[in-house]
């Protein structure tokens, strides 16, 4: 086991070429090497640019509504009789999830780089909506790729994107879900590299995306540190966040990596159960490989072909995971667990009924794990859950699962 951080050796990953230990990197076709380098340089430059950072901060405050509050879920905590449960309310952001923290940042970067056209991939539609939203605001053309299967199961978000002026392109290749949408967005990018900026929605893809998306999402963890100190006088004992690609989890974890007393738990989607093979949990049940521009844990068969994944939550339905999570797992700094569809539904209902907060199905996985963890801790300990999104978008899925006609 490698220790991620000691007192004398601060955590400073990724390296120059985007590696987190053996993970990450740049694995793309030659035509994308030059635009990726252009993006890396722009990202490096503007993250140091006071004007850019000030504009980003202003937008996060006045457009997104940051800082998002931290809420002490007292009734829920009492119910489980263990640790105090706190929620980081990313569901209260404009567009209803953490995704917008990143799309605002990347869109401002696109504008600085003189790109006039934005493309994105989306699974549940949250990243697509967050991208269409910022494209509308900045007056940029926007094309969103979405698997045909997801277009059907996330109809309200498809309409939202279209109302915002985006073109939604259903993807019919492969398994017709998020991974195929990502493939198609890559194909668009390679064809239109001169005027197009690809806003990737998670901490995956070739370097600099995993680091850049993390840096835009790290506002979640920075605020959380300050707010927990202000509200409780200390840092939480455990952070819990759901992991699909892993952007909300990294956003929360990253500013705490050096606080080794703070336990970090990523919750993957176990779908019907890891043992059934129908899941979306590469860190729990996959192995390392290369997909979508980086080396990371993947769900694949013996021949290295990517296998279709399953989760009740479209946002977690992805066969890979951000390379930094792969590294945090191997290094032991973070722990990764999984929660089934059924357990996530229990988490969903419990939070909704006990606190009057309807969580996204993605975030419900984190809630469900915290419900298991809380009773094992004492009342003076604290768990902070990243409530990454709100659940309004999921009511159709829930109605179908529970046999309710709307």
């Amino acid at each position: 086991m490698t220790t991620v951080q000691t007192a004398t050796e601060p955590y400073n990953l990724p390296d120059e070429r985007g590696h987190f230990g053996p993970y990450g990197g740049v694995f793309v076709a030659e035509t994308l090497m030059e635009p990726i380098e252009e993006l890396r340089l722009a990202y490096q430059r503007y993250m140091q640019d006071e004007e850019f950072v000030a504009e980003l901060d202003r937008d996060l405050q006045h457009y997104v509504g940051r800082p998002s509050p931290i809420y002490h879920a007292e009734r829920l905590s009492r119910h489980f009789g263990g640790a105090q449960i706190f929620l980081k309310r990313e569901d209260l952001n404009h567009t209803g999830a953490h995704k917008v923290n990143n799309t605002i940042g990347q869109a401002l970067l696109a504008k600085r780089m003189g790109k006039t056209r934005i493309i994105a991939e989306t699974g549940a539609g949250q990243h697509g909506v967050a991208t269409a939203t910022v494209a509308a605001r900045l007056g940029l053309e926007c094309v969103v790729y979405m698997g045909e299967v997801d277009v059907a199961r996330q109809a309200p978000n498809v309409l939202r994107m279209r109302l915002l002026g985006a073109t939604v392109v259903p993807v019919t290749s492969g398994s017709k879900t998020l991974k195929d949408a990502l493939n198609e967005a890559m194909r668009d990018w390679v064809t239109n590299v001169d005027n197009t900026f690809y806003i990737i929605g998670t901490v995956a893809g070739p370097h600099p995306y995993p680091a850049m998306v993390r840096d835009f999402q790290a506002v979640i963890g920075r605020e959380s540190r300050e707010q927990m100190m202000a509200q409780t006088g200390r840092l939480p004992d455990a952070l819990v966040a759901c992991v699909g690609g892993g952007s909300n989890a990294i956003g929360l974890f990253y500013p705490f990596i050096g606080d080794t007393a703070v336990k970090m738990v990523g919750v993957e989607a176990a779908g019907d159960g890891i043992e059934t093979g129908r899941h979306s949990a590469p860190l729990s049940a996959g192995r390392p490989g290369v997909l979508h521009g980086n080396r990371t844990y993947l769900i694949e068969d013996d021949d290295g072909e990517i296998i279709e994944t399953h989760s009740i939550s479209a946002g977690l339905d992805y066969p890979g995971v951000g390379p930094e999570h792969a590294w945090l797992k191997d290094s032991g700094r973070a722990q990764y667990v999984s929660i089934t569809d059924t357990e996530a539904m229990e988490g969903f209902h419990t939070l909704t009924r006990m606190e009057g907060i309807i969580p996204a199905l993605e975030s419900s996985h984190a809630v469900a794990y915290a419900m298991k963890l809380a009773p094992t801790l004492s009342k003076d300990q604290q768990i902070l859950i990243n409530l990454s999104g709100r659940g309004d978008k999921d009511i159709n899925t829930i109605a179908v699962r529970e046999g309710i006609s709307l």
């Binding site: 070429r17 990197g25 740049v26 694995f27 793309v28 076709a29 030659e30 035509t31 090497m33 030059e34 635009p35 290749s173 492969g174 991974k179 195929d180 493939n183 890559m186 194909r187 390679v190 064809t191 239109n192 590299v193 001169d194 390392p288 490989g289 290369v290 997909l291 979508h292 521009g293 080396r295 993947l298 694949e300 013996d302 021949d303 290295g304 072909e305 990517i306």
Partner: protein, 273 residues
């Protein structure tokens, strides 16, 4: 001297342009591939690129994507692709074979096992679309030991620095992707190709093959005047798809297309086409 290097040297001496067809292994079914490779050679192919199907072919257009899906539906894999090459080799020890695909199946098989098996199967070169030289050092040293040539891609936006680097690390030939886009896309701008090819030639002595957008005898001929080799992929795979499983018809059609390109490349008068 590798089979690829020897082939390009012989062609240069004869003042001929290499004709390099691409088909996906196992498309439309595994039984088709070996006879198809022989038919392509008979029709005038100098080198053959065999595509390894992958579930997520990010750099390919719809034609090659569908070929991958058809092959995967028959459980085609990297190992089985190597088996097909081995069978082809039993009757053809002269034609260089390059396998072209994505990195993940190689990662899954393991670098050493893959290189070992590829060498035993008679593979001459390996082109891994999503493995730029920056990430390739482990695989390159294994290739060198096994006598397999790593083939690198160059693109219209490759910088001078990168062209030099590929020139140093590549063996056999370099593959210039003549347009920004996926396989089978768009139309070639010959003036652009000409300009870039001249730049590449100033920076490296490796033979240069050009592909992406070569659709018929006419474009093959035009590209042939600029490059050492012409790669044709999607146009061939479209014929296989159109034949919808009628193997005899597909074999005839791909052989006819290659023969027409061969004729165009070898025509003495550049106005003949």
């Amino acid at each position: 001297m590798s089979r690829l290097t020897a082939k390009f040297a012989a062609l240069k001496k004869a003042q001929r342009t290499a004709l390099i067809p691409f088909i996906t292994a196992g498309d439309p079914d595994p039984e088709f591939t070996v006879p198809a490779l022989h038919a392509l050679v008979k029709a005038g192919a100098d080198i053959i690129e065999v595509g390894v199907p992958f579930s997520d072919p990010m750099a390919d257009g719809p034609v090659i994507q569908r070929a991958s899906e058809r092959a995967l539906s028959h459980k085609m894999s990297l190992r089985r692709t190597l088996d097909l090459v081995k069978r082809f080799r039993q009757d053809d020890q002269d034609t260089p074979v390059v396998i072209m695909g994505y990195l993940n199946p190689i990662e899954a098989m393991g670098y050493e096992a893959f290189v070992d098996e590829a060498a035993k199967s008679g593979v001459d070169g390996v082109l891994t679309v999503d493995m730029p030289p920056e990430e390739s050092s482990d695989l390159l040293s294994l290739f060198e030991r096994a006598g397999i040539d790593p083939i690198f891609l160059l693109a219209p936006n490759s910088t001078e620095h990168r062209i030099r680097k590929m020139g140093e690390l590549g063996r056999g030939y370099l593959y210039y992707v003549a347009l920004k886009g996926v396989t089978g896309a768009g139309h070639l701008d010959l003036a652009d190709v000409d300009r870039k090819v001249r730049q590449i030639r100033e920076l490296t002595d490796l033979p240069l093959a050009v592909g992406f957008g070569v659709k018929n005898a006419e474009t093959a001929r035009a590209i042939g005047t600029l490059a050492d080799g012409v790669v044709v992929g999607s146009a061939l795979v479209s014929k296989i798809e159109a034949a919808a499983g009628h193997s005899a018809q597909a074999l005839t059609e791909i052989a006819d297309l290659i023969a027409s390109m061969r004729g165009a490349l070898d025509a003495p008068d550049s106005n003949a086409v």
